[in-house]
Amino acid sequence: MTYLTPGDPKRRLRKIQISVVAIAVLFGARLIDLQIIEADAINAKSYSNRAVSRVLPSLRGDITDGANKVLAHTVFKYDVNAAPDIVAPFDRTVNGQKVLISVEQAATELAALFGQTQPEVLAKLIGTGKYSQVAKAVDASVYRQIKKLDIPWLFYDPRPARIYPNGAVAGGILGFLDPDGLPLEGIEVAQNACLAGKDGEETFEKGVDGIKIPSSAITTKAAVPGKKIKLTINADLQYFAQQILTANVAKLRADWGTAVVIEVKTGKILVAADAPSYDPNEPSKSSVENRGSRVFRTSFEPGSTMKMVTAATAIDAGKVTPESHFIAPFGMTIPHSNGYRVTDSHVHGNEKLTVAGVLRDSSNTGAMQIGNLVPWQTRYTYMQRFGVGSMPGSGFPGESAGLLNTKTTWGNDVVKRYVSTFGQGVSVTPLQSAMMYQAVANKGVRLQPQLIEGCIDSSGNLTKVTKDKAPVRVVTEASAKSTLDILEKVVEEGGIGKHAAVPGYRVGGKTGTAQIIDPNTGRYGNLHAISFIGLAPVDDPQFVVAVTAYKSRTVSNSLGATPIFKAIMSQVLRTYRVPPSTTKSANIKTEWK
């Protein structure tokens, strides 16, 4: 046995101790570096590899009619994408057996669902890229069918899409969104603050299988859905009016037509129909000028429907009664106007007419005489009270105030003062026209037209979204009653007006055949804006219906508008179960001897 030379164990032990301490210090330093100095960066890098963040899209609120029928709502559509670099034949289980499906066969199946050709689809699938959009915004039903094909290299991105289930019904009012969901027209724009929701966000950690890691930190900002806008529109009546209007505008070969129905006692707009109709599901298929609503935006000289205002003004000013006598010649020259001559629409001799008769025959010369009894400044004030030249305040974006020249202009222009008595030299929108008649139907009080009931939150609380305008006392109740009696004579005895009669009901109204200025010549052309505005029942007016056909080519007077009025008014009275009238019209003479 050999023994090693003994060393110094204490020194050796110290060396080992120093080595251990040095290693410990190194490890400790690295540990501090990893755990403290670089900890945040490492944690962040690690988290970014695991964390998934995604936007939770909010759903835009519905737009409904007055009976809560949905006119616009949001659904999900799906973008179908592929990663070409992993596109390959795949197995599909058919009747319990695995069948190999080629890419070409899959492309054929997809093409049938997308309405594309197989080569078109195939071109999007072949390549080395990581992303290719095969189809954009397909319906949920198509999405479901694609998923059934069980193609492993397709991916689906849901995106909110706006649907208008009733198509063009109230399309001009509703407006539309662009492909990115931005509102571009109508109520969609005007009430975006109510309708738009707030997108949320979700962040979570996932494993390799894509499933959330238990107890991983989840930061979620819940998406807040948009609120609901309730309109005053009656969708069924709106459809009916659009049907009638579209058919008749085609028959009249007019440029366009409008129909408005107002609930007299509330000012609610039950119908605001335009022809041509416009489908907000496919805005690109309509021309830009047809995408809004002319009911609110397009003003034009109303013509003879304005004679009601002239008569009501003169009655309220105490200058005439419905039976005051006038002699209406065929033509009259406006005094101090350098010979500006006004004629009636048809040649006739001097006719002995009452105020009611003047409106019955729609005599321009008679209306000028009635209007001339009232100082023009007073008539100007009445026109303002009737709403001419002021915003109606319906809440529809871009509504027009029409045109009422300044008092100074009127003061300097005698022709404007005279022709305004029969609806020239001023312009109003179809809605403004309807509201003038609403005023006399509502015992002389003009209300603010209402298109939007309000914004409704998820709890069902309704908030007004339009600024209230105070009702305007236009004429006294007695004057309004006298004016209604005159309007009833138009329908009872008028050559054209009687075509607006609805059996069983006392109906009042006024025809309008307005000349239209030709922009090329600056003079009135041959085409007219024909209209009829009426109300029923006269004994207790409930509804005003105003109809216009612009540039009618087959019928040049309001005989073309009365069938539309009659059909819509009949339907309105039926819809709201208005009992037939039990009283008779006032015994007012329309002529004198």
């Binding site: 046995m1 009976a67 949905v70 949920a140 479901r144 238990p214 009638i244 709201y576 208005v578």
Partner: protein, 208 residues
């Protein structure tokens, strides 16, 4: 051959220490008492139990997460189904579809309404057949590209025949062609919530 490192020179026998004197010591203080054994056992078992419970909880949580994920997928599918069915109902309930279906069934809008006042049974207006009425518009003129589904209306006569057959077979008057249309009507919110019939008067809307 082995080598042994000596740390010190071997001592001589004389230098060996004296034989150690042995003495007895009391070990009672070094052995654990029964109570402390219970404490140790409790702590150990408790720790094991907690570990097992935590493991089970973790397994349960994991499986719940998978179940949650599965349920969320199912919810998405059901939401999609709801959306598809909702769109179909909307299409079938749209005015355009109803107008088209009514036209196919031979129904015509009558432009000459006639009113009956119940209190004196007076008829207002002259009843005319819808076919001869002026201004009738039955064909749908208002476009709707969102109409993805339409009512299946067979020939009215065959539909009536099928209706009759179905009535015999099931005891309820339902025909395939009618089912969709009737469902639409039932699902469409009425413009007027209810109609109040007052004695002697005609049915009137509650708002008027």
């Amino acid at each position: 051959m082995s080598t042994v490192r000596l740390t010190q020179a071997p001592r001589s026998a004389r230098q060996l220490p004296d034989r150690a004197s042995l003495r007895s010591i009391n070990l009672s203080g070094l052995t654990s008492s029964p109570s402390s054994r219970v404490v140790v056992a409790t702590i150990t078992l408790g720790a094991v139990a907690i570990a097992i419970f935590q493991l089970l909880l973790h397994i349960a949580t994991s499986s719940s997460v998978y179940e949650l994920s599965h349920l969320q997928t199912e919810k998405r599918e059901l939401t999609t189904t709801t959306q598809i069915l909702g769109q179909q109902v909307d299409s079938l309930a749209s005015q355009q579809n109803l107008a088209n279906a009514a036209e196919k069934l031979g129904m015509i809008s009558n432009a000459n309404p006639v009113f009956l006042r119940l209190e004196d049974q007076k008829v207002f207006g002259k009843p005319k057949a819808a076919l001869t009425a002026d201004g009738r518009v039955s064909r749908n003129l208002v476009p709707n590209s969102a109409m993805i589904r339409t009512s299946v209306i067979a020939d009215p006569t065959s539909t009536l025949a099928a209706d009759a057959t179905n009535t015999v077979a099931t005891g309820t008057p339902q025909a395939a062609g009618f089912v969709a249309v009737k469902a639409n009507v039932a699902n469409t919110p009425s413009a007027v919530s209810s109609v109040v019939s007052t004695s002697g008067g005609i049915p009137a809307s509650p708002t008027h």
